[in-house]
Amino acid sequence: MRTRPLVLSAVAVAAVALAGLFGTAIVRADSQLVGAGSSFDYPFFSRAFYQYSQVHTDVSVDYQSIGSGAGIQQFTAKTVDFGASDVPMNAKELAAANASNGDVVQVPVALGGVVIAYNVPGAPANLRLTPDVLVGIFEGKISNWNDKAIAALNPGANLPNLPVVTVHRADGSGTTYIFTDYLSHVSSDWNTSVGTSKTVSWPAAAASLGAKGNEGVAGQVRNNPGALGYVELAYALENGMTYAAIQNKSGRFVSPTLDTVRAAAAQKPNVSPTDFSIVDQNGASSYPICGYSWVMLWKAQSDAGRGHALVDLFNWVVSSGQSYAKNVHYVPLPSNVQNGARQALATIH
């Protein structure tokens, strides 16, 4: 074998490798921020971070949508600069984080609702459901669409003799957390037997399917006549799904829209990482199943440049960045929540 082609190719490979090593160092932005966590935030973040980088060309943000729990873990392990989760860290997670790198600052960055989508051929859109009926469906007590309880709420509606099959999220999800939080609030039975979590043990009496991701739930609801499932508001609006009007605490049947979710959030201006549930709020136009999504940052930033970049980024996200929320069907944060978020961000040094 001739040696010259071998030597030349070896030199070429070495050159490419060196260029790769040094090249990335040269073209990398001055601040490259990395975050990971909730998939709920991902559509909003990808739009917002891109817009931010267009204006602030020295900052680039990389966000990995791996799920709330994994986001918290990566944040505590300090592999990412910020974590995102639909549920703020609980006491155990906070203790682990404090042991790792001190205090944590958690700020709300996104606001969304959970809609109840259904597929019943012949039934009207915006079917009315009360909390008791919803709990009954997911517990398996109401197992057919022509049940008296549903018919009583929807006089004149064409409800066929069709078994109900509920669809839930098989992967751990913030949407599940918000939905089970609501069910636990409206039913003490659900609270004791099932509880609130990102992954719950769904009552076995109900005919139910598990699906992966919002797309999975939507797909199952679309493909199975008689199916009923919970999906994120943004996703339901984007895909034109049929969803129910739920009776809120004030007794009115409310459809999930950006306005009704915003009205619910306004009922509770002072949300904090320890008191963050906004389900089942008072108010005539409040939609009962909503929740915030949170970002966690270290209070003491070791790298001053990075720290400043992070604080600036999230100050922008909770303020001007919210104008991009509507395009992707998220509800912009209410102004009092924005103020609270900015105050929390100001404590980072």
Partner: protein, 329 residues
């Protein structure tokens, strides 16, 4: 572990036999020998390392979760319940369905390719069958969700319910997704494994066997049934066991069509859950060291089962292949 990896390992290990070493010329050959041996041992070390890491990471669960909790169907990690029976059941049932469908079809396909097809047809056809193995699992999963599930729900399951509905296996509501859909999807995925290996095994049967049968006046069918298949039996069983190994570990395709409900039901139409699926679904969001350790323990269980199945398969396939290696092709 693919056939190639194992072959490299064997080549590396056998080349270091003393008789051969004396005959090798220095430097260049020695360097090559060292590299190849090193590569072989590296592969084995990686597998051993994987096992050890899995074991160590699942120790918190092995130590704290009682066996009675594990051997149950109640899977509720937030409340400390870790029953894995429904996953084991789901894995075994879907793999059994896959093998029941892909086994006979794969062996028949291999027989056709090895014995009956004309030489011009056998090559391209064999390649097409092997191409099925190249399709990524997640693509199979999506196809299963959007194409197979509706077909199951509207055509296959009602038909089975009408004709075989007296069996509890085929009763109950049809959702399209469920154990049966997952089993059918898995059978399509393991079919190329069965067909390709069985074809090689049939080709490895020495011609003298066939000629002897023909000389005794046997028909084509009798040659196959009485000479080829019995001779290749252990190899075909090895192929089936390999396919089982693949079916046991399949995650992405199964998670989309199995229904993801941790429960054991008598009907094949019902949704279920498998070990690989629960890992795919819950691993990223699992919090708490016991929960994560428990998931890793499920992964360890799956790893051990797949390893055992593969070892059995290799032993069986080598049994027939090595016996006739000197006389093939």
């Amino acid at each position: 572990m693919s056939q190639q990896t194992v072959d490299i390992a064997t080549a590396g290990l056998s080349l270091t036999s003393t008789r051969l070493r004396r005959a090798i010329s220095p430097v260049g050959d020695r360097a090559f020998l060292a590299t190849v041996t090193g590569a072989a041992w590296l592969v084995l070390l990686v597998v051993a390392g994987l096992f050890i890491v899995l074991l160590l990471a699942s120790l918190p669960a092995i130590k704290t979760v009682p066996l009675s909790s594990i051997i149950s169907t109640a899977w509720d990690p937030t409340n400390g319940k870790y029953g894995v029976l429904s996953f084991v059941f789901g894995t075994l049932v879907t793999s059994a369905i896959a093998l029941a469908i892909a086994g006979p079809i794969g062996v028949a396909c291999a027989l056709y390719l090895a014995e009956l097809a004309s030489r011009r047809l056998a090559g391209p056809l064999g390649m097409l069958v092997e191409l099925l193995a190249a399709v990524p699992s997640v693509v199979y999963g999506l196809w299963g969700l959007f194409v197979l599930a509706p077909i199951m729900r509207t055509m296959v399951e009602p038909f089975l319910n009408k004709t075989l509905g007296f069996l509890p296996l085929f009763q109950g509501p049809f959702y399209g997704v469920g154990m049966l859909a997952a089993g059918v999807l898995l059978s399509i995925m393991v079919l190329p494994t069965v067909a390709a290996i069985s074809r090689d095994v049939f080709l490895a049967v020495p011609n003298e066997q066939r000629e002897a049968m023909l000389a005794l006046g046997a028909t084509k069918w009798e040659v196959l049934a009485k000479a080829v298949i019995p001779y290749a039996r252990s190899g075909v069983i090895g192929a089936l066991v390999l396919a089982l190994g693949r079916a046991l570990g399949e995650a992405m395709a199964v998670v989309m069509v199995i229904g993801n409900k941790p429960a054991i039901a008598a009907s094949l139409f019902a949704p279920g859950y498998s070990m690989a699926s629960v890992l795919a679904n819950e691993f990223t969001e699992a919090t708490g060291s016991q929960y994560v350790a428990m998931l890793i323990e499920i992964g360890l269980l799956l790893f051990v089962v797949s390893l055992v199945v593969n070892v059995i398969a290799r032993t069986l396939v080598w049994g027939v292949a090595s016996g006739s290696r000197s006389r093939t092709r």
